[in-house]
Amino acid sequence: MAYSDKVIDHYENPRNVGKLDDTSKFVGTGMVGAPACGDVMRLQIQVDSDGVIEDAKFKTYGCGSAIASSSLLTEWVKGKNINDAEQIKNTEIAQELALPPVKIHCSVLAEDAIKAAVRDVRGKQGI
């Protein structure tokens, strides 16, 4: 499998790897995928009182494309309002990373992860 330069760049130098304090009500966690499927993505966002994403962190168990998709996504969502962040489409990620058709589901996973993280933080804040 040949990877695009962008996938390799994110894979070699993943942005925003890490963990946020899940007990905080300003932190939303989206964990998607399953070990049995070969991919698990954990995406966390920290929002301010206006719902703007101040920080984002991820960890991903999965192929290079899954790692790159989640790394890219953390870059994109920072500074965005959660309402905008949850509009990000997997096709945008796939296009930016030039993912081949068999790797589209890795970007779908990233879209699912941000949606789940936004849902989580909304739940915590009761909005």
Binding site: A34, P35, A36, G38, M41, K59, G62, G64, I67, V108
Partner: protein, 404 residues
């Protein structure tokens, strides 16, 4: 671009230069280009004698008579010819065949085809170390069983079955015994008499010979009869028609001659390299050897690095040419069926790498490999939410995953 370190010898091997030279002598006007079946002139006679010399070299790796060797295009064709040919020839005796779940696709797909034709198959599960035990075969045999097909050395794990004992079970019950020896020739001793084997498949390209040539051993005493799968000019005593590919055959003969000569010294050298590789990575946490530590050939070592996904590991190890047990693409999210048959869960199967060591592997390459593997596994675990959870003492089996 610097080429990666080649550690995929179980997939294929480069042709030994000695072999390539000998093949080159069978192609052009100055060489033995004749048709080995031409009986009326010296071009044919020369080619025929080269083919017969090669036949003797191949036969001697397994202690067979040269007349028991049938040339094929590889082990895939040999497996097809043996299993279909023997099952069809003996169809009046019965329609039951015994094989295992960890055979190569060339055996499994052949068996699937026979199932479509109305044969009944029993697929044996290996034990936890990847071995097929003689008792398993014995218990599976029925009144109407005609053929048992069990591989000698498994291509993913390197495990080596006790062929002699399985052969005895079959001989006692008068059932034809076929063995896929594609991964064992030149890697471990073979003796078709001691092992009670009736048919055995070989491939040249796993032993520093060319691709596209192989052989099937077919026992003469007591005689094993098989139905041809390819019909034509009646070559190879009618079992496999087609003009013999002199250069390919000569290449296989020379490769097998060298392989037999070097078996002892290469086994020692490769055993040391395997040990070096394993001890170099085994002290990391959560690293597991798949297969059998005792009953295997040294050249194949299959390791699971828990909490690291196989494809990303392969990507991190781009400077190494190795194989992964994972095939995570949207088309098939299936981990290796061999690892699954061992009872490995999907994660461990996804996390496995097969390293296969061969004739041109050096100590420096192994040391380099160890360094790269340690760095890659460390990095990917830092990236892995599963590793986090494991470190926090969470039992991953208790987590409710959103499978997709």
């Amino acid at each position: 671009m610097t080429m990666p370190i080649y550690l995929d010898y179980a997939s294929t091997t480069p042709v030994d230069p000695v072999v390539a030279d000998k093949m080159m002598e069978c192609l052009t006007t100055s060489g033995k280009f004749g048709n080995p079946a031409s009986r009326s002139h010296v071009f044919g006679w020369e080619a025929e004698s080269a083919v017969e010399e090669a036949r003797a070299d191949v036969a001697s790796i397994m202690g067979a008579d040269p007349r028991e060797i049938v040339w094929t295009s590889g082990a895939t064709e040999a497996n097809n010819l043996a299993i279909k040919g023997c099952a069809h020839f003996n169809v009046r005796r019965g329609k039951h065949i015994v094989t295992s779940r960890i055979e190569h696709k060339a055996v499994l797909d052949t068996c699937r085809q026979l199932e479509r034709e109305g044969f009944e198959l029993t697929y044996l599960d290996p034990d936890a170390s990847g071995l097929i035990q003689p008792e398993m075969v014995s218990e599976a045999i029925r009144q109407d069983t005609t053929v048992v097909s069990i591989m000698h050395v498994n291509n993913e794990l390197g495990t080596r079955n006790d062929i002699a004992s399985i052969g005895k079970v079959c001989r006692d019950r008068k059932i034809f015994f076929h063995v896929d020896a594609a991964q064992s020739a030149g890697k471990t001793p073979i003796d078709v008499e001691e092992m009670n084997v009736d048919m055995m498949s070989f491939s040249a390209h796993k032993l520093y010979g060319p691709k596209g040539i192989g052989a099937l051993y077919v026992r003469r005493k007591p005689r094993v009869r098989i139905e041809a799968q390819i019909h034509g000019g009646g070559h190879e005593r009618g079992m496999r028609s087609g003009t013999l590919a002199t250069h390919q055959i000569v290449g296989m003969g020379e490769a097998f001659r060298l392989g037999r000569e070097m078996l002892g010294s290469e086994t020692d050298r490769i055993t040391r390299l395997r040990h070096r590789l394993w001890t170099g990575v085994a002290d990391m946490e959560e690293v597991y050897l798949n297969g059998s530590a005792q009953q295997s050939v040294p050249g194949i070592i299959n390791i699971s690095f828990a909490f690291v996904e196989g494809e990303s590991l392969i990507m991190a190890l781009r400077d190494l040419a190795v194989s992964s047990g994972s095939a995570c693409t949207s088309a098939s999210l299936e981990p290796s069926y061999v690892l699954r048959a061992l009872g490995l869960n999907d994660e461990m199967a996804h996390s496995s790498i097969r390293f296969s060591i061969g004739r041109y592997t050096t100590e420096e390459q192994i040391d380099d490999t160890i360094k790269k593997v340690r760095r890659a596994v460390g990095k990917l675990r830092e990236l892995s939410p599963l590793w986090d959870m494991f470190k926090d003492g969470i039992d991953l089996n208790q987590v409710e995953w959103s499978a997709h």
